[in-house]
Structure formats: structure tokens, C-alpha cells
Symmetry: C2
């Protein structure tokens, strides 16, 4: 590893010019076979590997696409987490993992590599500079990068925003891909109401800061309205995090509340819900635990639904009825869009895709096997 060989070394050793060496790698057919062999042999002997940087600099393109996503987990809990191997942590990760996987695959198909970087909350623009400067284009999970930075960067290279609604008008020139949260929740709710004849529904949402959760709640509202059920202004319960633990807690809270109310004489055994609708799978799984613990049977006593379609959702018993999010596809679409932006459609109207979701009817609502 004394001094890394360059085109010059290879050129000298094989008795050609550096231009020819370059051509051997870039466009092999334009070099006579005998020459090519000679160059490749020299390269092999020298241990030559073309410098991506020099290549990129000279050709003004890196062949790399990027992805910025939120940090996996709290740095604080890191040491404990390593041992504890927390469930929530695991499930959370799948979210971005799926996107990574989708992007990686699509990127490879187009001959790109994938650069990934999680943004730590505090870290300012180091992330941005690091990634933005080394890629031909990249995708950002909503709320990962400060709007201001995005604004600057998007002037230099294509950026596509993933999930979450357009944040504000400043960024509406960016391409954007989201998932049909509202549609999915509406359809799922409709299913519960019409196909299962359930009426007393409760919706457990996340914080207002989660655009996904909010969109889902809107879908819920729409379904209620369409069915002529009372439409509430707010979720029956909000949680700060959308974790299993919170879902469990929320369930306890709801059932306790219902118990008290029916205890003091509600209207006809009253307020115990027939269906508990959670804004994501994590919470729904937590709810299943809580219900199991309290001896409430699912779906016989109460139906439970989630949202996301994480793998865990169909491993639990009863398998969770949910809305499957095409996260992998989201990643793939992001790449397709970027590639298009890097090709013919350099400019052109900003695109805004909404990926369709599908309702997975499983046991926890009374459908499916078991």
C-alpha cells in the first residue's frame, strides 16, 4: 500500500497513453484487443483501481444515489439496546430498511450504487454536505433534512421526498412520493363498518407531528362520514410515540375508561368499543398484548387493526389486519424518478406520486385464516 497506482502507472507499464487506459475501462470496445489485454494485465499487476473521485470529477457524475433517513435509535439507549435488543427498535428499523432495500435494488438495476446516511438530530449540515456532494441525486425521508438545506441542494441536483405530505410551499418544486394513507385507512374502516357491521369504533393516533398518522385519521373520519356514523374531530386517544409500549398503555387506558363509564350506567353496556383502530402496527401489536392480558378476545370481543404491514403484523396471533405499505416499492419508485430526472426529464413539472396501498384482511378483524 505504498503509493496507490494511477492511470499513469498503468499507462507507463503497458506502454500506452493514459487516454487509452481510461478507454479500456470506460469503453473497452474502442481499444484493440491486444492493447486492452496488455493494459488490463498491467493494471492487475499493479493493483490498480480507478479512483471514483477523479472519475466523477472529470465526468461530472458519481454514479451514486443517496438516501437520508432519520437516525435509527436514540444514542442514549444505545448500550442498553445492544443487549436488550428492543422489539420496537427492531420493528422501526424495518421501515427504513425496506426503503433501503428497494432503492438499492432499483439503483443497481440502473447501474448506480447507494449511499446512505442517517441524520442525527443535532448534526447540522454535515450530513447534507457529506451526501449531497457525492451523489447524482437523492431521496429524503420527510423531515430528515432542514427545509433550508433542501432548498439549496435541490438547485444543484434532483431530490425526491419520500412519505409525508409536502411540507410547505417552499418545497413544492421537489418531486415527491407518498403513500395513500388516507385512502388505506378509509378502506380499512369501511371494511370494519360495512363488512363486519361494527359501529363503536375508536381511533388511536400518534402525535400531531406525524403527518402519516394525521392522514390516516382523516381517512378514518371520511369512512365514518360516509357511513353516517358520528365524525369526531380528534382521535379518541393520542400517543406521543407510536410504539408497542404506547399501544399497550393506550389500550389499558381506553378499557379502563370504558369500564368506568359503563359502570356508572352508560347507555346499554355502552362504550366498550367493537373495534380499536391504531395508526400503526406497532401500537396494534401492543394492544394485542394488553387485550390478551386482560382476557379480552380478539376478534370476538373486539376487532383490532393496525397500519403499515410490518412483518411482525402477520406473525402475531391473531394475525393483524392492517394496511400494507409498499415501502420497498417506494424506494424503487424513488430511484426510478431520480433516474428519469438525471436523464431526459431533467426539468419539467415536479412530480407527485401517491402509491396505492392494500388492505390485508387477517384474523384480528374477524377475517382470514384462523
Amino acid at each position: 500500500m505504498s503509493t496507490t497506482p494511477t492511470v499513469y502507472d498503468v499507462a507507463e507499464r503497458s506502454g500506452v497513453s493514459i487516454a487509452t487506459v481510461s478507454r479500456v475501462y470506460r469503453n473497452p470496445d474502442s481499444v484493440r484487443e491486444t492493447t486492452r489485454e496488455r493494459v488490463l494485465a498491467a493494471a492487475r499487476e499493479l493493483g490498480y483501481v480507478p479512483s471514483g473521485n477523479a472519475r466523477g470529477l472529470a465526468s461530472r457524475s458519481t454514479g451514486v444515489l443517496g438516501l437520508c433517513f432519520p437516525d435509527y435509535s436514540d444514542p442514549d439507549t444505545e448500550t442498553e439496546a445492544a443487549a436488550a435488543d428492543a422489539d420496537d427498535d427492531h420493528a422501526f428499523m424495518l421501515y427504513s430498511d425496506q426503503i433501503i432495500r428497494g432503492m438499492e435494488r432499483a439503483a443497481r438495476r440502473h447501474g448506480y450504487a447507494l449511499l446512505i446516511a442517517a441524520s442525527l438530530k443535532g448534526g447540522p449540515e454535515s450530513l447534507v454536505a457529506k451526501v449531497a456532494g457525492r451523489v447524482d441525486g437523492f431521496a429524503v425521508l420527510a423531515r430528515t433534512v432542514p427545509t433550508e438545506d433542501l432548498d439549496v441542494i435541490s438547485r444543484r441536483l434532483p431530490v425526491v421526498m419520500l412519505a409525508g405530505p409536502r411540507e410547505n410551499d417552499e418545497l413544492d418544486h421537489l418531486d415527491h412520493i407518498e403513500v395513500a394513507n388516507a385512502d388505506g385507512q378509509r378502506e380499512l374502516t369501511r371494511h370494519l363498518i360495512e363488512d363486519h357491521g361494527l359501529r363503536r369504533l375508536v381511533f388511536v393516533g400518534g402525535s400531531k407531528a406525524s403527518p402519516d398518522a394525521e392522514a390516516r385519521f382523516r381517512g378514518f373520519q371520511e369512512a365514518c362520514r360516509a357511513a353516517g356514523l358520528p365524525v369526531r374531530e380528534e382521535p379518541d386517544l393520542r400517543t406521543e410515540m407510536m410504539t408497542q409500549a404506547e399501544g399497550e398503555r393506550a389500550t389499558d387506558a381506553l378499557l379502563d375508561r370504558a369500564g368506568e363509564e359503563s359502570g356508572d350506567g352508560g347507555p346499554g353496556g355502552g362504550t366498550v368499543p367493537e373495534a380499536m383502530i391504531f395508526a400503526n402496527d406497532q401500537m396494534a401489536v401492543g394492544a394485542l398484548h394488553a387485550l390478551d392480558r386482560r382476557g379480552v378476545r380478539v376478534p370476538d370481543d373486539v376487532a383490532v387493526t393496525g397500519f403499515d404491514g410490518i412483518p411482525l403484523s402477520r406473525l402475531v396471533r391473531p394475525a393483524l389486519t392492517t394496511v400494507r405499505q409498499p415501502m420497498r416499492q417506494l424506494g424503487e419508485e424513488a430511484v426510478e424518478l431520480l433516474v428519469r430526472r438525471l436523464g431526459e426529464e431533467r426539468d419539467g413539472e415536479p412530480v407527485s406520486l401517491m402509491l396505492p396501498v392494500t388492505v390485508a384482511r387477517r384474523a384480528s378483524c374477524g377475517c382470514g385464516e384462523r
Copy 2:
């Protein structure tokens, strides 16, 4: 996006030289505050983002680490898989996902970004060139990159090999991190023998091509030898793939065989095993299905164990006793090692780490909750 601004543009606009612009980004404190502000303002107005390529070229380092791992899934099954969302596929991915996650985190801690690239089987050196040229160092999952290429590349930048034993002598100058497969399986087997008093064990391994599976089998052999049990030369059964489906099939085969043998009068109810030991969790989970189907109770009638500690392993019922592989840690260690190689310990004896594993005693062997 007409023409992307460069240092020159920023320099001109802010009335300084390009050297000063560069300093503002590289070493802000060396520039007077008023000047710095002026430069940053100009940069913002212009939408300037430093070119990672130019930076890397000039400073001979990229600030990026790489990871090469095997392709996620068959390209053939891609379209079906998207819909089918195959379980095996999912679980397999977790393997590399965990490593990615570990590397990403550690890399970020050290100020590096992570470049990932799955290697397609056919693709020749494109992968190598693509990644190797753009990173300061990288990790390779065993058998992902042709030995020959690795040899060339490792002369240019640090490479650490993950999992799998050293392949052969040619590569023994590479750093190498593996997981204590044999130790783990030995300890797990010892547990079954000594703590549960089980004697009639069967081991289901994978193909000989899997070094991990082979190492695990060795651990099994050692435990048998230590306990004075008969030591077999080969696993009781080998499967081609190590999937759930195969595990299920293998289980059927074993039980059918045992049934026949005891049917024709084996010695005392004889050859039905007391414990079925699988070389990985996937197969063990498949086995649980098969056993459930056949009405064989676990762990009462037979104990079952896996290896890997995939999340699924503790979601199944009964929860699977297994050996937990620290994949995330593996990723982190890889980065630590690379960083060290890029720092003080540029050269020095090749390191070979073996990460300790821990046995997770759960219900499927008769331990644990439930």
C-alpha cells in the same frame, strides 16, 4: 440547475479567493468571522454545494466506507416476490440489514457515510470498481467478491471480511471478523445434554458450501464428544437451502424415517429424537410448523433449537431457543477496524476477531417463559 456553482463562483461573488472559500468549509476558524459570513451568504445565494469528488480527489480520501453483500433475492422471483412478500426473503434480509445498520451507525459516529452495494451473481468487477474506487475502505460479506478482485483491491485500501472463515491462504492478509459459530453450537448442545438430560439428538445442517453451517456442526460434534455421546461424521440430514420450507421438509423426513424404524422394532421406542438441532432459525421455524401439523408437542415431545437469533425466533410459539448472533455488532466492529486501519494502524498484522455469541434459552427447549 443551469450550471452548478463552484468555489470560483462563490469566491468571485464574495470577493475572496477560492482558497478562502475552501477554508470556510474545511477549517472555519482560520477565516475571519466577517469574511466567513460573507462567503457563506454568497454560497447560500448561489446554491453552492461542495463537490465531494473534487474534495476527495484533492485530499485523497472520500469520507465514505463501503459494504458489499450478496444480492437480496433472485431477480427471477422479483415480480412475484413483490406481491408474495415471501417470508424467507424477509428473514434473510434481516441478516444484511442488521449489518448495514451496525455499520451505518458506527460509520456516522466516525464521520463517515456508508456506501452499500449488493453483488449480483453474474456481474463481474463492475461492483468492485464501483465501490472500491469511491470509498476509503470497506467490508465484504464472505463470498461476495471474487478472491482475485479482493486481492487487487486490498492492496489499495483496507478491506475487512465479515463472517465465514478465512477462505484460503491467499486472503489471509485481510482483516477478518467472524462469529463464534462453533462455540455457540457447542454451548447450546451442551445445554440440551446436561441441563435437559437429552440424549437422542439429531442435527440438521445446510450444504457443505456454507462455512457457518459447517462450523456449527463442528460445535455440535464437540459437545457430543465432551458428553461421551456418539459422534457422527455427518449431520443427520443436509438441506440444500436453509429455508423454512426446507426445515419443514427435513422434519417430515426425519419423523417419517423414525416412525418406520421404530415400527419395524427399534430398540425401545428408539429412534424418535429428543431434540432436533437446526443449523439456523429459518429451518427451525419450519420445523415447528411441521411438528405442529403432525401433533408433536414442543418441547414436551421433542426440543427444537435454531441458530442466528432472528427476530422471528422469539415471535414463534413456542419461542425458539437459539444462539444469538451479534450481527449489528459485527457491522460496528467492522467499521471500528476500518477506521483504525485508516488511522494509526495503517499496516500491522492482520487482525482476526471472533465475536462471542450468546445462547438464548427459550421455550422450545423447555426453558424460558411459557
